[in-house]
């Protein structure tokens, strides 16, 4: 192994004498795990729709994602680490997709390629279309585009590698597969009159009961639509009548600011705890 490769692994906290650096590296378990995992990610050979053509284009000689460690695409989920969901996910297809995901050995990652896999895309309203694969599977990286260019896909894949670099064995939320025992498989959806997510059985049962009582349940009412131009006018009026600038903020913005402040406080606490160790 070249010296430069080893240097990437060196942990500066425990310096190795200069003359030994070509042969010895002292590093953390996190780093070596992450480094080896991110450097040989094998994607599942799994094309859904139009994006699959660009995915093959990315794998082909001109763009060639093997250069980044995505060495070969495997036909079997048992041999792959990464599922590139390349295209529109339909209700009929989500069943095999969840099954394939369950068959992949951990650690496993999901990359949603393109608008459809990320959120339904142009076909979102379609009756047979799942609006985003994240409704059923945990997604690590979203790549926008319709379809994303090979460059965009490569960028997404490199982003995934960066994400892996940041994972820590100490944080089980990051790497659930180091928890105790095998992790639970994702429940496989059922094709009934419409697609049924087993995790929503209770809600569906409730809906059926409500329907029996003839109480409308299916649709949620959004607040009535108001013309933003009129709202803007009204708020200006309010600001003029009230003196305090604080009171002029509408409740939604105030809530957002409060949330952000709380998040910053949590982050600071976490940093302090880390520094204390």
């Amino acid at each position: 192994m070249a010296q430069t490769d080893l240097r990437a692994l060196q942990d500066t906290e425990f310096p190795v004498p200069e003359e030994l650096q070509a042969n010895i590296a002292i590093t953390s378990l996190d780093k070596i795990y992450n480094w080896s995992r991110r450097s040989s990610m094998w994607p599942l050979l799994f094309g859904l729709a139009c994006c699959a053509i660009e995915m093959i284009g990315t794998a082909a000689s001109r763009f060639d994602f093997s250069r980044f460690g995505f060495e070969v695409m495997r036909g079997s989920p048992r041999q792959s680490d990464l599922m590139i969901v390349s295209g529109t996910v339909t209700k009929k297809m989500i069943v095999p997709i969840v099954r394939l995901y369950n068959q992949m050995p951990e650690p496993k990652y999901v990359l949603a390629m393109g608008a459809c896999a990320s959120g339904g895309g142009p076909f979102k309203e379609g009756y047979n279309v799942v609006s985003g694969v994240d409704k059923y599977l945990p997604v690590d990286v979203y790549v926008p585009g319709c379809p994303p260019t090979p460059q965009a896909l490569l960028y997404g894949m490199i982003t995934l590698q960066k994400k892996i670099d940041g994972q820590s064995l100490a944080n089980l939320d990051d790497v659930p597969w180091y928890g105790v025992g095998p992790s639970e498989p994702t429940p496989v959806p059922v094709l009934g009159p419409d697609i049924i997510d087993p995790r929503q059985m209770e809600l569906i049962r409730e809906q059926a009961q409500q329907a029996a009582l003839e109480a409308p349940f299916g649709a949620r009412e959004l607040p009535a639509w108001v013309n933003p131009a009129e709202v803007a006018q009204e708020t200006t009026v309010v600001e003029e009548t009230q003196d305090g600038a604080e009171d002029g903020i509408d409740p939604a913005t105030a809530a957002r600011i409060r949330k952000r402040e709380e998040a910053m406080a949590r982050l600071a606490a976490r940093r302090a705890a880390k520094g204390g160790q």
Partner: protein, 618 residues
Amino acid sequence: MMDVVADKTQLDISASIELLRERWPDAISHDNRDGFSGIIVDPAQLDDVALAIRDELGFDYLSSVTGVDYLGIADHMEVVYHACRTSGGPALVFKAQTGRDDPRVPSLVSVWPGADFQEREAYDLYGIHFDGHPDLRRILLWDGFDGHPLRKDWQEAYFEEEHKPFDSRWPGGQVYRAEEKNVFGKNVRYPDDLDLGRLNDVSESDLYQGLGLGVDVQALDSDGLRTDRLVVNLGPHHPSTHGVFRMVVTLDGETIASLDPVMGYLHRNHEKIGERNSFLHNMPFTDRLDYISSMSNNLGYALAVEQLLSQGARYSPPTYRAECLRVLMVELTRIVNHLWSLGFLLNDLGAFFTPMLYANNEREKILDFFEATSGSRLMCNYMRFAGVYRDIPERIRSVANLVNDKVRDYNTMDYLTEMVNERLPRFLDEYDTLLTRNEILRERTVGVGVLLAEDAIALSTCGPLLRASGVPYDVRRADPYSIYPELDFNIPAGKNGDIYDRFLVRFQEMRESVRILKQILPRLEQSQGEAVVTKIGHTPRVPVGEAYGRVENPKGELGYYVVSEGDPKGPQNPWRYHVRAPSFINLTALGPMCVGHKVADVVTILGSIDIVLGETDR
């Protein structure tokens, strides 16, 4: 009198209709609605009329079958048939009307076996029963799906309004995610009488039947050997199905006893969404049908709407340059598609990825040109009604975005000239030398997956699949459009109808495309400066009527059946937007072609049909 009999198959459309009207004065009437054409046949007589149309009038090729729901306009369902002659000429349109409560028409599978999948699709999406259909099951959706989604009174879970742009969003409306409105946070809606205790989970049972666990495995004798019949499931996740396609294969030893294609894994409701969209809005959606050849999909749709705009008459080309650009793009697309399909056919044969990478190299060069012209490599969205999106750029430019990618900066015409005159012919010669007489290739393909000419016509197959069986039927010649009549090119046809012939036909078609491109280049030089963008391309006022625009796509005859019922002054969207997808209809022939071959040949036969799932499932 012999002359009269012989002439019947030469009669033009109106004379043919008159002949039929004389024969069945009560059962056949003219379709007199504004902007509509053809005849309306009484469903009770449909069988006999169809036989006469096929046998006496010579319309041997059923191009398209589809349903239309006229709820609110006439309150009936309509089944629309387009029949053509393989010798050429326009389509004869005939329709059968039936009530909405219990829609029933006789099946025409016995007359044109190619109606099989199309009638199943109409049953699936409209609930129209085709009496006498041998296997009337849902084809795109799953058994147990709630309702028939293309009926006008069926609304999807995210339904907001009948047509776009939605009032809440335009002008200056509010933005929210459709999930927020749905209680489940998903694109789902369950019927009120849903019984969770009795869920019919077909996905599971299908899978296990595929594994042979749910069916009786019966022993039978074949060639003196005792073999078990085994059901094997190929797909929907299988590297060689070219997408999410599934085949349930019954094997007798290693020989195919029967093959049942299962599709719909990429059914993304193109036609329902198309009815909500405005006319222009559908153009980018057509890109995503056959996503390898988006340019020619655009052209078919543009032709259909242009036909509507000109109220049935053949649309006079906007400017000569626009037509030249269209043909340029479409022929380049044909090369792109055949490069891709031949590369993958070799892949299926076991020449893993090398021929495909060779072909892809050339394809990328063409995609660079597409990207410079339309802004996108794959989804070009280039054609407009009565024109194109814009002229070709003066230079093809791009920044170097990858280490091994050179900075691209070429004069477009030089780039095209070099490609058409040198690069592509050189590549084709090289590919030819490497592959065409390759012994392994011939061993695996000659005599495999044979489709006889009469079967190919009867099963409504199209494109290279039909031509390889020896039927030189090409819409560019049979029902010419654009500037094809003035171009000099041949229609390659095969003899034996096997995989090898399909390979050769595709190869020859690429050479013919290069020949067309060579004729287009001087025309482009001459017409420099002509306008290619028209106002109508962006704001069409589409009159009431129907149109069927068809083009010869690389995969076969692509047809768009568009019905407009809207008020030309109001917001406009198609009342019906049907895609006659070549990949879908060509699959009708897959089962018959595979029976008797080995399981390893199935993959190759499928590869030789050259399907793309975006178009198959729509």
